[in-house]
Symmetry: C2
Subunit: 208 residues, 2 copies
DNA sequence: CACTGTAGTAAACGAGCGTTTACTTGATGA
DNA sequence: TCATCAAGTAAACGCTCGTTTACTACAGTG
């Protein structure tokens, strides 16, 4: 049954996320699942393959997510104001669903932690980290905001600086969500931040 | 000579920052310094002690830094406008010097990475991480901004949200500075962010 | 000179690592 | 019923880990 294979993957990811790839032992993974490490090798040819299959799955999730949120773009008959609101709403809901994935979804949360722990020793992972969590989102938002400024949806300003203002709280709140007691819920702060961002930067023609 | 002891500390920190505490081996530390691991035990009683001495030094730096920047507070004869500018300038210069410490200073940069790698398996380090890099600065800024609003230096708004807006780019830019090619220098972006923050949120009585 | 203490080497220790091997199940299906 | 095969165990393999031990070289000091 491939159910064991799946359990191994999830358990390994949990340990990789906690201790790092090297420090997490094959014995520990097997032990948690109530089997010996020998049995584990019936399902994966070695420790590295577990890691690779985890990465494979994340890549697949990433592709599916991009496909789902790939802007089908507004239909030509929609008014500019509708386009404006639709764009903003889309950014907001996409951002919040991404935040939930990286903080509440088991796979997403553990994968994020694992990547965080591997970023300084694995150049490939370092690239991934920057692309998905740092440089990547900022540059993406920068292009998006610049376009929205050009279309008069947002007030004109420095798009890179504004991208930083929009995305950085997202990034910080993810790390803050790793602390057990959070006081105010991170997701509420994020929502408030996005609303405040829109209110501050949107042109007030008829939207809002 | 205690010079060897110092070299061991720095080299160990470098490896702990790259691979994590467990994955960095005593042999590797000694090897880099051109000695055998046996010699290393003349200077530290075990691997853990090296880690503890590293933490000790960071605590000491932290204390000295707090002492140096502990606001001696403005003298009573300074005008409110002077106080306003002084406060803002102080925040700006403190923020930038902190940023340089965590990204350009060898010890600060390596220690930050080490703590990043240990945060999910060591509760004590997790607390430290939150206190120094996440919750801590946000709460500190929140109190400071609230006070500045009360004194009319800043426009009234949600102080926690504003603290997030101010600090989050600092936090994100630190991570972005870990990538080799940075295009625009992170420190310039940070400076621009702070200036923009002041311009957007300061009351315009006579300052700026 | 002999004595003492420091800093170092080389080798061994036991433990744990990832991995392989030989063997034991128990279910399946011709 | 018996061969097959997937799934698991227990033990061993070679290796590296952190740590200890026995020994060497040497600088300083009475």
């Amino acid at each position: 049954m491939s159910d064991t294979r799946e359990k191994i993957l999830i358990t390994a990811l949990r340990l990789f996320a906690q201790d790092g790839y090297e420090a997490a032992s094959v014995s520990a993974i097997a032990g948690i699942l109530g089997m010996t490490k020998g049995a584990l090798y019936r399902h994966y040819k070695n420790k590295r393959e577990i890691f690779d299959r985890i990465v494979d799955r994340m890549v697949q999730i990433d592709i599916e997510c991009a496909k789902k949120h790939e802007v089908p773009e507004v239909t030509f008959d929609q008014a500019p104001s509708a386009y404006r609101n639709a764009t903003m709403d889309k950014i907001k809901s996409f951002t919040i669903s991404q935040f939930k994935f990286w903080t509440e979804n088991e796979f997403g949360c553990d994968f994020r932690k694992m990547v965080t722990l591997e970023q300084y020793r694995n150049p490939e992972i370092a690239d991934w980290y920057q692309k998905v969590f740092a440089n990547g989102p900022v540059s993406y938002m920068e292009d998006l905001l610049r376009e929205m400024m050009a279309q008069g949806v947002l007030k004109n300003s420095n798009p890179r600086l504004l991208a930083l203002d929009f995305y950085a709280p997202f990034y910080l709140l993810i790390s803050m969500s790793d602390a057990p007691s959070d006081g105010e819920k991170a997701i509420d702060l994020l929502t408030a931040h996005i609303d405040s961002f829109i209110q501050k930067n949107a042109t007030n023609r008829q939207s809002q």
